[in-house]
Symmetry: C2
Subunit: 339 residues, 2 copies
């Protein structure tokens, strides 16, 4: 079925959504309009808060729809008010924590999107799946999504393999919060006079957060602790770029963790593509140089390829294939739930 | 001044309080009555919640006072209702996070205890200071307090040195939450097929918390995340005791961290006493054996001594010395605030 599809990418630091026309054949849908919301969707005792997500998504979708260029007849239908309005055929929401904290979303969103947008098909994907679809489309391979968190996802198109993505207390090893946390720990070691400290990292921590004694009070009461930790990762990269040996070691260890995680999910076929995605790559050389070395050593059979698109593009691609009954990526109750 | 003193020990997993008669000379006050409250005092945007602490402390203190044996005249005074009731001369509250999150307590508690209990002297101490006073009294040396968190405190009786105690995201290296977290990470590595995993730890994690996929949802929404992490530390010790090499390595590394932290605060004098305190010692041999090795290697000039008492005994000791104008431990705006 042709018309418009809605993609949503919900992450630790905010939410993005986009509308695209359904594509043709194996083409990639192109975002026609996008919108953003700052800050993460709330997480409560029952997981990711579906009502909060809808509060963020529905008004922004309505605004985007109202600004769309005149759609062809096939993409319109009569609305309840008698006006012919654009038709949303399918929605894909990719969300951080979907696999483990997504029960509320799986219960609420398919019905809500059908009711509010007329969407007939809804996909609820782990952010790792939308990152995968954005980066490699529907080819088998492995995708590393490294931002505040860290997860690697692989598929042979029969099933999914996931490694890490357990959040900042249980894993996300080598991700932005992990790097920033290690950098702040090294700063406080220097402050205390403990072994393993870095005075350069301490100076940067004081410049960014103020006196060390105020740091716990600035971090622990916040709901977005992983984002606060990750905000220090660029300072670690900066100190590493200037040769600070503790910062260099933090990034070398992060690179080893990321490659280890990729190795756990990559299909064994020679030449399997591995794409690196996510904001963490913005740390540049101090991370990327050791990461290239670690990937070459731990995944000699794979080849690193550029990511074709981002997780929002991946959400649009999944929504598009779903709209046209052409999805090749495998469904999965936790990673890619089709409602 | 003689009479009764109140000691309070507020930690990550609950609160304890005790009343004691003022002592004589350098004697240690002896708790005459104690009470407990489960669960940590709340922390809000302005730090530790003073009103919540008072809600827990005041009714329990009133109950203890009402059950005290008939006090001698010197420890009684006329109450507002004309009845002669026991006199609380001094209070010492030792609280986790006092140094960094204690501004609200320092503002509210001295006035509140004067008003509600008639206390003329109030000491607000970091839990590290009450742990010190309980373990070594007023001798110079170093005390390691290792429970859910991890902090080392040293004094030469002129000033305090503190190392670590930064909480589970910034430090507390080698403490209960640190060990439990490392154990759960190793469990999830095994689940994912990543290097560095332990199938024994995975089996224990599944036995304690259920399927790995449910773990993030059980941990991240909770306010007592450090306690949840620390609850897994005994499982790590158990696996280490059974020879699991990953668990053994976690405890060896914890021991190295604890000794490193102690070394940062211990006075340099030959024979300086170092006392180990806190619930973490209950992990037994799998932690204590490597800890003895690490202390001998990193602190050859010090001697490890048993702790004389716990942090609640330390709070009573500080309150007693304060009541009698005989405190030798040095005051400090953050660690030992005298109101």
């Amino acid at each position: 079925m042709t018309g418009w599809v809605l993609g949503v990418d919900s992450g630790g630091s905010g939410l993005r959504l986009a509308l695209a026309r359904t594509a043709a054949g194996r083409e990639t849908p192109v975002a026609a309009a996008t919108a953003t919301a700052d800050g993460p969707v709330r997480t409560g005792p029952s997981g990711i808060d579906a009502d909060h997500l809808l509060e963020l998504v529905l008004p922004r979708t309505a605004a985007l729809l109202s600004e769309l260029p005149e759609p062809p007849d096939a993409a319109r239908e009569d609305g309840p008010d008698g006006k012919r309005s654009p038709r949303i055929v399918a929605v894909c929401v990719g969300a951080a924590g979907m696999a483990t904290l997504g029960d509320g979303l799986r219960t609420v969103l398919p019905g809500a999107f059908a009711r509010e947008l007329g969407a007939r098909r809804v996909a609820l994907a782990a952010d790792a799946v939308t990152a995968y679809a954005g980066a490699l489309g529907e080819r088998p391979g492995a995708v590393v999504a490294a931002g505040t968190g860290m997860i690697a996802t692989g598929t042979d198109l029969r099933g999914w393999r996931r490694a890490d993505g357990w959040g900042h207390l249980l894993g996300d090893c080598g991700g932005g919060a992990w790097i920033g946390r290690a950098g702040l720990e090294a700063a406080l070691r220097a402050h205390d006079g403990r072994e393993g400290g870095s005075r350069s990292l301490l100076a940067r921590a004081e410049a960014v957060f103020g006196p060390p004694a105020s740091l716990p009070g600035m971090l622990y009461p916040r709901a977005d602790r992983p984002a606060v930790l990750a905000s220090f990762a660029p300072e670690v990269a900066r100190c590493a770029g200037e040769g600070d040996p503790v910062a260099v070691r933090v990034l070398e260890e992060a690179a080893a963790q990321i490659a280890t995680t990729a190795a756990a999910v990559c299909p064994p076929e020679e030449g399997s593509p591995v794409a690196l995605t996510g904001g963490l790559l913005g740390l540049g050389g101090p991370l990327l140089a050791p990461l290239r070395r670690e990937l070459a050593s731990r995944l000699p059979h794979a080849r690193t390829v550029p990511a074709a698109g981002d997780p929002l593009a991946g959400a649009l691609l999944v929504a598009d294939r779903l709209a046209r009954d052409a999805l090749r990526l495998p469904a999965d109750p936790a990673f890619l739930h089709l409602g």
